[in-house]
Amino acid sequence: MKLIDRLYREAPLATRNEITPKLGFLLTVLLAMVWLIPFLWMIVATLRPASDGINLMADLMPSLKPTLDNVRDAWEIGDFPRYTLNTTIICAGILLVQFVTITLAGFAFARLKFAGKTPIFYLFLMQLMLVPVLLIVPNLSLVAQLGLYDTLTGVMMPFFASAFGTFLMRQAFEAIPTELEDAALIDGASLLQRIRHIYVPLSMPSFSAFAIISVTSHWNDFLWPLMVINSPDKRPLTVGLSVFTKTAEGTQAWGTIAAGTLMVIGPLLVTFLIFQKRFISSFVTSGIK
């Protein structure tokens, strides 16, 4: 209780002795611990030797004889380097094209006057609601017609335009003082030069916020790549992990499954813990991905 009192020492005097907020805090601490249990189990089970047997598999006390056998097995059964490469290509490809589309469109909405601005703006706005994952059926047939079935490009294409990114860039560009652009205009800079050399460099925080949202959401995409990709060597991490889990589940190799899962989410977790503040503020701006 002393400890909690210390946390509340900067609370307004009138509320410092209230018991309800502290109970709420205690409950949250308790739940946060529960929230971490699956991760804890994943790590403990990864390091548990097979000799502990299936009955100790659920024990959250780490084994005294930790081993990396599970990691080795997972590495050999699943083609994780290949899956990681595919996911990286997909995320990077989507992000690069999105940077171009959202910069151009964001600039048009932020700085240019044009006929039909409001209706076109609504066209973009509506895309936030029409989540691509709902349109998997028509989009799959389109991707097939374009000859992109079973290609990574096919996985990427539906995400090349981003309404969310466009709005984010519009907001960022609107905040940039026009005087800067006027100066460049006098020097005879073209529209694209002004975007490239004035607007883009000054909007880096928004680009990085968007990059975080875009990469995490496409890193985690499952259903769409599951439908588009057929060949095993083109699977992204999520699809690869689900196939891997199916295989290992048959043999009750839970330690291997835990190790495989750890390999998939490890990079994400480490990146998050390093750039925690960045991640959280980006996700707040995201709303609808």
Partner: protein, 316 residues
């Protein structure tokens, strides 16, 4: 495809006497050309994968093949009525409604609790926020892999630790009466931390001086929550409810990985039904009809929530 085409179309049909109107129009189109060029890349992809896709859903829903190899023929609303008459679809809708309410309400309630408890920033609360946020980052497929073991009968984490407390344990994912609720637990675990962020942001908008006045007037924690904080968070609530509902329809990867809609269709959700029709039964007509119905329901819901939001803003 010319850029100015969509804007110029209505003008092309207008007659000669309106010449000056046409002139003004082409003038404004010309002035707008740079903007259209900048928007073109985005509009192409929106046209192909959002609006074009909607159009294709609409058309595909009207056609059907008599046999798998027969050519498609126009069947009107037959696909829609076939879907509506399919007990698997109505079952999936009912499941999805239970799932939506059963995930949205607890995850939002938890998110609010977390945000209220962790609104004050210090080292402890930052660490707790991070812990609660971790599940948001990981793929649903990875969460499924972990929970598959948690729910494993007899040797799984849940049975291992609570097995001693309960005399009879259900087969969490194998019992048709329990499986859907087990699936919901994963969603709540995964999303509460995400919604927490929005409440944390919303709480910062609660005016400091109003809170102080409440303290001086001797308002207790419950009164402050009920009369100051909750009214201030109304827009946040509405926003989070919309996202949570969208997630309840779209974020169903764990059904694919863990249960495949089973046992006996008890965890079949609408998106999984659509997937089954399209990929497993090759029935694009029925899949499109189901997509169309889902889109209509979601858009209706969104429109409703925006109206409520607009009314509220207008009223205050």
């Amino acid at each position: 495809m010319s850029l100015a085409e969509p804007a110029a179309l209505p003008v092309a049909t207008s007659a000669a006497p309106r010449w000056h109107v046409l002139k003004r129009f082409t003038g404004s189109v010309k002035a707008s050309l740079p903007a259209y060029l900048l928007l073109l890349p985005s509009l192409v992809f929106l046209a192909l994968f959002t609006y074009g896709a909607m159009g294709r859903v609409f058309i595909d829903a009207l056609y059907q093949r008599a046999t798998p190899k027969a050519p498609v023929s126009f069947v009107g609303l037959d696909n829609i009525s076939a879907v509506l008459a399919d007990p698997a679809f109505t079952g999936a809708v009912v499941n999805n409604l239970i799932y939506a309410i059963g995930t949205t309400v607890p995850s939002i309630a938890l998110a609010l609790l977390f945000a209220l408890a962790l609104a004050r920033t210090h080292a402890v609360s930052s660490a707790l926020r991070a812990a609660l946020f971790l599940p948001v980052l990981i793929p649903m497929v990875a969460a499924s892999a972990l929970f598959m073991f948690i729910f494993l009968p007899n040797v799984g984490l849940l049975d291992y630790y609570i097995g001693r407390l309960l005399p009879v344990l259900p087969n969490w994912l194998g019992d048709p009466d329990v499986a859907l609720y087990a699936i919901m637990v994963i969603t709540i675990w995964k999303n509460a931390g995400y919604y927490m962020l929005f409440f944390l942001a919303g709480l910062q908008a609660v005016p400091e001086d109003v809170m102080e006045a409440a303290h001086l007037d001797g308002a207790g924690p419950y009164q402050r929550l009920r009369h100051i904080i909750l009214p201030e968070l109304k827009p946040t609530f509405l926003f989070v409810i919309v996202i949570a509902t969208l997630n309840a329809v779209t974020q169903v990867d764990h059904v694919f990985v863990m249960t495949q809609g089973g046992p006996s269709n008890s965890t079949n959700l609408v998106l999984f039904y659509i997937y089954q029709q399209a990929v497993e039964h090759y029935d694009i007509g029925k899949a499109s009809a189901a997509t169309l119905l889902t889109l209509a329901a979601l858009m209706g819901l969104t429109a409703l929530s925006f109206r409520t939001m607009a009314n509220r803003e207008g009223g205050s």
